[in-house]
């Protein structure tokens, strides 16, 4: 079955002529409580009831992707970082893909309403954000957007064009959807019980520090190869036991960093860093915190520090209020870094750095594409990506 690309059909649209809007776009699926009262041609209709997901799909509530608007003049809402708070759907999507593998992930949310005016060109970011993480936002046009289309306003027409441009960009690169996240860190957790909040928040907040990771359920660990990772964080209330313990200790002994709750190993640590007791284990290390974890943002920073920023798979400069998501096929001879910019306006000139010596890169934005040349950096290769608004993809190749 072809991948479904969903669009919420506005209840107000009772006229088949409205389908013209979708002609020539990748949208192939209308979503709503009931099908529109006219033939849909090649379009499929999917009934979406609250709390229920269509077959093969898992639907999750999302948030309008953005930096939270200022509550006082010249100030954005502060987040855990002390920097502006970013509402991102990255964590929700990654969690859904982990907990319900094999299902398509759809995000269901609307643009903020009430007194808040959302510029229509932000809708393309919502489309791109979801697709960058290999999911789909159920495109849901706001009343002002619908009104603008009705009145044939330039702003609405231009914004719709960008929404379609975002979809087309991903349609033109189906291989990107087959790529896997590139990361030095594996996050292992049951994502249940008393650690659910800690582990899920870790996954949600890590993009704020450009900390790349892959997520695994503890129950699935037996079938997972940890060879590609430099570190594993095991987020449970108790240290691992049985086969999980054996596998994780083997990972450390082979040279990795295992961050585990207290009690995994005993005796005097070889080192204490940022309060963590670090024990040598073969060629690697086991790091245990001084007390039970209580703050996912702090934990994320501690893990990043224990692992070292040297292990970052991609470095981003001038990437504030931005997520980076590096995906690649096995071997990583090529790959693509998705950059989602959550602030309004254009970015500062963005630079990406890689330890791997990629030789070529091409930047794709919603306005076009261009080649960029590598430059020698202090820690490897750097690519001057440049400025963009909302979204850019940087395709790299060895």
């Amino acid at each position: 079955m072809a991948e479904l690309i969903p669009f919420r059909w506005p209840k107000e649209w009772a006229d088949a002529s409205r389908l013209e809007l979708l002609k020539g776009t990748p949208i192939n699926c209308l979503v709503g409580e009931a099908p529109p009262p006219f033939p849909l041609g090649n379009l499929q209709f999917v009934k979406l009831a609250k709390g229920q997901s269509p077959e093969g799909v898992t639907v999750h509530e999302g948030v309008w992707p953005r930096v939270l608007p200022a509550s006082t003049k010249d100030a954005a809402e502060a987040g855990a970082t002390g920097a502006a708070w970013v509402d991102s759907n990255a964590g929700v999507i990654r969690m859904a893909q982990t907990l319900e593998p094999g299902k398509a992930v759809w995000l269901d949310y609307e643009a903020p309403g009430g007194n808040e005016v959302v510029p229509l060109d932000r809708f393309a970011r919502a489309v791109a954000e979801a697709q960058a993480y290999n999911a789909h936002w159920i495109v849901t046009l706001s009343p002002p957007f619908l009104e603008g289309l009705e009145k044939k306003s330039q702003e609405a027409a231009g914004a719709w064009k960008r929404v379609v441009a975002a979809m087309n960009l991903f349609q033109a690169h189906p291989e990107w959807r087959t790529y896997e996240p590139v990361a030095a860190l594996a996050v292992v957790s049951s994502f249940e019980g008393e650690v659910q909040l800690m582990s899920e928040e870790f996954v949600k907040l890590a993009p704020r520090r450009h900390l790349a990771y892959r997520v695994f359920r503890t129950a699935d660990l037996a079938g997972v190869s940890l060879d590609q990772f430099k570190g594993v964080i095991y987020i449970e209330a108790q240290p691992p036991d049985g086969e999980v313990r054996k596998k994780l200790l083997a990972f450390a002994e082979a040279g990795g960093l295992l961050v585990s709750p207290q009690g995994l190993v005993s005796g005097e640590p070889s080192e204490i860093r940022i309060g963590y007791r670090i024990h040598r284990a073969g060629k690697g290390r086991v790091a245990m915190p001084p007390e039970a974890w209580y703050d996912p943002y702090l934990l994320m920073g501690e893990v990043h520090q224990l692992l070292s920023h040297r292990e970052d798979v991609v470095r981003v400069w001038n990437g504030a209020d931005m997520n980076s998501h590096f995906v690649a096929p096995p071997g990583q001879e090529r790959g693509v870094v998705h950059l989602i910019h959550y602030s309004s306006g254009t970015t500062q000139p963005v630079t990406l750095g890689f330890s791997r010596p990629y030789r070529r890169a091409r930047v794709y934005t919603l306005d076009g594409s261009r080649d960029i040349q590598p430059e020698a950096g202090g820690l490897g290769i750097e690519f001057p990506v440049g400025e963009f608004s909302s979204y850019a993809a940087v395709e790299v190749q060895s």
Partner: protein, 373 residues
């Protein structure tokens, strides 16, 4: 032999003359050549051995946060941070001169990472510095760091704003204090040189925007806004302002806080990296309403001196400013002159006529920042 070098400046050279206080040298590019140039400058200053031999040397570099911000595409080492090649050159020369231990220091306002990690975040391998000589260390002094408690340093003489400061242990566990800054402008202070660099010895856990009131925060975060506006006092139990009713004008306060700091933690050697830098701002941006834009420039100059006031005065002259300008005149349009205040407080001479300069003259390497943009 004495040479006149413009602006009434007298340059003394020759073996019979007393050592110069400031040395200026052309240095067109970063790389291994910086070691040679800086070594010659130290010789012009009378040799570095007498200062560092057998001593614990602390080098306060300039690596202002945000760590991931760049001016355009250019790494911050070339625009607003002390370049690692200059740091490395000093490390090599200090070590050759017999320094017992060399500790590189900077305080991050955004994290309590080891300083080594912050080099990596900035895009540089710290091992190139750490392995340049034996006994080289790094510490992020934005918090307690590797120390167990903060240490109080008291202002010598009558303080302008604060009677004392509480700082990371590394600023007292040293015999020699080096301030190594970029040759650059500051949006408020006019100059962000070796004196301004010393603002960064204060830990944001006590003086930053997220400093707790009852005690220092555990982790550093936020600018040291209290120095500028006096909107609050440092965390308990750190010393409070001597006169909370003094002007809250940042242009009054900030230069005075700097002079207080210099009298609490004297600097023995100041080095200015003007090989590559930027104009108009100490950070990666200017205010949206600024008439100026940041330009990336290559003055190709290094400046070093025993006294930070004299060294910064020479730096100001190289940048095309009158070091003794008063408030309202470039570069001090928005603030009192930190050079004048420092001279008045007896920290050093800001008047070029009182400074012995060796090597190149300010005129010969002048690079007028305001004409660049």
């Amino acid at each position: 032999m004495a040479l006149t070098a413009g602006a009434g400046l007298t340059i003394r050279v020759g073996a019979a003359e007393p050592p110069a206080e400031v040395s200026i040298a052309r240095c067109p590019a970063y790389g291994e050549g910086v070691v040679k140039v800086l070594g010659q400058m130290f010789e012009q200053l009378g040799g570095i051995g007498k200062l560092v031999s057998g001593k614990r040397v602390a080098i306060k570099i300039n690596m202002e946060t945000p760590l991931r911000d760049r001016t355009g595409f250019r790494p911050a080492w070339y625009t607003r941070w002390t370049h690692p090649d200059v740091i490395r050159a000093a490390v090599v020369l200090f070590s050759q001169a017999g320094a017992q231990r060399i500790r590189i220091l900077e305080s991050s306002c955004e994290d309590d990472h080891p300083l080594e990690e912050n080099f990596v975040i900035g895009g540089w391998d710290p091992d190139r510095i750490l392995k340049a000589a034996p006994n080289v260390e790094m510490e992020n002094t934005g918090s307690l760091g590797y120390g167990k408690q903060y240490h109080r340093i008291e202002v010598k003489g009558k303080p302008y704003i604060y009677p004392a400061f509480d700082v990371n242990h590394s600023y007292v566990e040293c015999d020699v204090m080096v301030s190594m800054a970029k040759l650059k402008e500051h949006r408020l202070l006019g100059l962000a040189l070796s004196m301004e660099n010393m603002l960064g010895i204060t830990p944001p856990t006590i003086y930053g925007e997220s400093a707790a009131y009852e005690e220092p925060s555990i982790r550093p975060y936020g600018r040291r806004l209290m120095f500028e506006t006096g909107y609050r006092q440092p965390s308990e139990p750190s010393p409070k302002e001597v006169d909370p009713s003094s002007p809250r004008d940042p242009g009054y306060r900030l230069p005075r806080v700097i002079v207080d700091l210099l009298r609490a933690r004297p600097v023995h050697l100041a080095i200015l990296d003007g090989i590559e830098t930027q104009t108009a701002s100490e950070s990666a941006s200017v205010e949206p309403d600024s008439a100026r834009k940041i330009r990336l420039v290559k003055p190709g100059v290094l400046i070093a001196g025993w006294n930070p006031v004299a060294t910064d005065a020479a730096g100001a002259a190289v940048m095309g400013f009158d070091p003794m300008a008063s408030r309202g005149k470039p570069p001090f349009e928005k603030c009192d002159s930190v050079l004048r205040l420092a001279e008045e407080a007896g920290v050093g001479a800001g008047d070029l006529r009182k400074i012995n300069i060796a090597g190149a003259t300010p005129d010969s390497v002048r690079f007028p920042f305001r004409q660049q943009g």
